[in-house]
Amino acid sequence: MIAIVLRRLGSVLLVMLVVAALSFLIFNFLGDPVNNILGVNATLEEREALRRALGLDQPTWVQFWHFLERAVVGDFGISYRNRQPVMDLILSRMPATVELVLCATVLALAVGVPMGVYCALRPRGVLSRVLQMVSLIGISIPQFLLGMLLILVFSVELRWLSAFGRGEVVEIGWWSTGLLTDSGRKALIMPVLTLAVFQISMIMRLVQGEMQEVLRADFIKFARARGLPDRAVNLRHALRNSLLPVVTVVGLQIGALIAFAIVCEAVFQWPGLGLLILQAIEYADFPVMAAYLALVGFGFAMINLTVDMIYLFIDPRMRRK
């Protein structure tokens, strides 16, 4: 058991190393931050001097080694663009993204699960067909387009919601939340909807599929034969048994959303991690990019590790291997 965990941890480290190394290779093709720092009028000597000062004149593998040395103790350097420690920067942007993603996930579960249950119970009903059609659109519509449509309707035409930003936020320690103010809650509506539409559609289809499968199982027939009320059979027995894969997928999706809420954040000028990494790419802000990619790699590796651990506990057969 411990050996398996250690082996998994080893592979987590390997994944992070590979991600960091890949990101360093990409930097070579991205351009030179020196131009952005010094401006177009800088002389060649000034450029060279700064390049030396930043260590950019050294071979990639040396730069990579220096990065690793510092990253091990949690020091990712200073952002070229913001001139702030990278970790502070990432921590200050994290709450916005996490809040967005969690709200979208809660909404997706609250809407997607009942819809999926309904479609599983009445697969031939008119409403089910409509829901299925709508969910097809939800899966296929690009986030960017949906976000712009929402802005056009609710900001430009109706003027109900703000087209950009988080509204007023309240600071609680190092965390910041928009949930405690009116403008903060209103600002969440459109980005959350944009992010949730795909999730809703996916969860609905997942629940529907799983539940239809479970409903055909013998224990459901037996439950009905025992004369249990429909409610109890459908919700207590069928739904519960179909939720396990849903939980797994949703868990993995949270990680993906935190890492890739970029489009949504760019459309709504949501000051989170996605916007930060986008700006870092435009500026060739290597320290931010390297730290972000390494942390995303770490996040995914940890989520996978946790899932693997859960499987180990659920399925004794895997422990024997």
Binding site: N35, N41, L44, I78, I151, R159, R166, E282
Partner: protein
């Protein structure tokens, strides 16, 4: 539609009420945030175009882009290489500290010492000497004509304050000292910083103790970066912001058609052109012997193939103006005698190519930035078709700006798009020394492998040193004429600025794109 009427009226009523209660708040959105409140952190015209409201130099540009006194009330030349500046006496920084000669000397060292981004700008200065608390002498290393121009872009900081917060060097990427200047600013300008959340919002308030007579009527400026073009325009149309600089070209009609909105236009100092490798002996991938771009007839043929009027009509939607030389008409020392561009004549271009020995044309790679200049992508795509008409096959290679700005000066391109505005100097000297002079050391950084002419190089150096305007004009005109006759660049056009705003705002639209809010009014 009827359903929508009520909420709209309600919202409009609320908005009007809110505006009245807020007095004159100018809500301003821009595609990006400034990277720091430190005016010495980078020679970045974007940052300075906003920071000019918080900090001031010894001199400044007025609404017509002429130099006028700012923190210095007068100055005189003691000799050819020595300038005396008399500082204004009644000036205080936003924190109440008085402005003195010590601040000038401190700011000189902070911005100009080796390793600082402004070292190049202040390079002609050998020494700064305090004569008394309100008099400073600048000793130059050599004759230099553009001291005032350069001083307009060099801002004065408060010595005492900077030492207090531990930020006495601008470019410290090894410690957290630069982080302090993220959210703090202490200048002398017409507006002072009251709140700043990097990448979210920056709030400026009118400086009640400003030394100059107040012409604006703004109480507050709220600056929000909104990176997505469509969202930024939506924020303007929905009444959430009052002012956006550089409205995206495709949205200009939409903004103008919206009641209560307008677009203010102005000529930009920036001219757009194609640069060419005129040094290499061969042009890899061209399919012909040698380097055809070395032949002036070939360069002229390319210029004749470019339908700049067509680009203006169908791509720029009228918001550009064809140019014959690199100087925009609003630039000092512009020469109206040289304003006739090479005429569009594809047949003539073909004949000229044949005469030069390329009847079947050749192949070129055109490198182009995606997002540096207005409609850069579309212009380059159009150029591909235009050059195909005279038999030149063009392979288009697009680059993100950060990559482009690295590879272009490194000489990796042989045919490329570039735009130059001569900022912050606003003088032909800046344009010439960056993009016309033969690359050598500090000069010609943006003319790699490009146009080279010994006489022109010599003139450029003299233009930098000559004090007499008449003599400067003569030399500048000679450089421009030689450039035009030898087709050193393929000139395209001058961009126009298109700034979107509500009817309430009256702005000025200067050719250097600076937002000088002290000229703005709202009603």
């Amino acid at each position: 539609m009827r359903l929508h009427v009520k909420p709209l009226i309600l919202a409009a009523g609320l908005a009007a009420f809110a505006a009245a209660a807020d007095a004159n708040t100018l809500r301003f959105a821009e595609g990006q945030d400034i990277n720091s409140m430190d005016p010495h952190a980078a020679r970045d015209d974007f940052a300075l175009s906003l920071l000019c409201n918080v900090y001031e130099g010894l001199v400044r540009w007025n609404a017509d882009l002429e130099i006028e006194p700012a923190l210095a009330e007068s100055w005189e030349a003691i000799s050819d290489t020595e300038w005396r500046f008399h500082l204004r006496k009644d000036v205080t920084f936003h924190n109440g500290n008085p402005f003195t000669a010590d601040d000038v000397i401190f700011s000189y060292h902070r911005a100009g010492d080796a390793g600082s981004p402004f070292a190049g700008l202040l390079e002609p200065i050998a020494e700064v000497v305090k004569v008394d608390d309100h008099t400073v002498d600048f000793k130059l290393k050599r004759k230099y004509a553009l001291v005032l121009n350069d001083f307009a872009g060099w801002y004065i900081m408060d010595k005492e304050f900077q030492e207090e917060i531990g930020s006495t060097t601008p470019l410290d990427l090894s410690s957290n000292a630069g982080g302090a200047m993220q959210t703090m600013a202490n200048g002398t300008g017409p507006f002072k910083l009251v709140e700043r959340q990097p990448d979210v919002k920056t709030v400026l308030a009118a400086n009640a103790d400003w030394w100059d007579e107040k012409k604006h009527n703004l109480d507050e400026i709220v600056y929000t970066p909104i990176s997505n073009n469509a969202t930024r325009v939506a924020a303007l149309l929905s009444g959430e912001v009052d002012f956006i600089r550089n409205a995206p070209p495709q949205d200009i009609d939409r903004i103008e058609a919206t009641p209560g909105m307008k677009v203010m236009r102005g000529p930009h100092l920036r001219t757009i052109f194609f640069g060419m490798d005129q040094q290499s002996d061969s042009l890899p991938g061209s399919g012909v012997e040698g380097n055809p771009l070395k032949d002036v007839r070939v360069r002229k043929a390319i210029a004749m193939a470019m339908d700049v009027e067509g680009i203006k009509r169908s791509i720029m939607r009228g918001n550009s103006s064809p140019v014959a030389t690199q100087l925009a008409p609003q630039m000092p020392f512009y020469d109206p005698a040289l304003e006739e561009p090479i005429p569009f004549d594809p047949e003539g271009a073909k004949a000229l190519l044949a005469e030069a020995g390329y009847p079947d044309g050749f192949t070129l790679t055109l490198d182009c930035p995606a997002g540096s200049f207005i409609n850069d992508e579309q212009i380059c795509q159009a150029a591909v078709g235009m050059l195909a008409r005279i038999g030149i096959t063009v392979q288009l290679s697009m680059h993100p700006p950060v990559q482009y700005d690295t590879e272009l000066p490194a000489g990796q391109y042989s045919f490329y798009m570039l735009g130059w505005a001569g900022l912050p100097t606003i003088d032909p000297y800046n344009v010439f020394n960056a993009t016309v002079h033969t690359p050598s050391g500090e000069l010609g950084a943006w003319n790699p492998k490009g146009y080279s002419n010994a006489r022109v190089d010599e003139l450029i150096i003299q233009i930098g040193e000559e004090y007499d305007p008449a003599k400067r004009q003569e030399m500048i005109s000679e450089v421009l004429k030689t450039q035009r006759d030898e087709v050193g660049k393929i000139m395209l056009h001058q961009q126009f600025l298109t700034w979107g705003m509500t009817d309430k705002v009256t702005a000025i639209v200067p050719g250097d794109e600076y937002t000088r809010f002290w000229y703005y009014t709202m009603n």
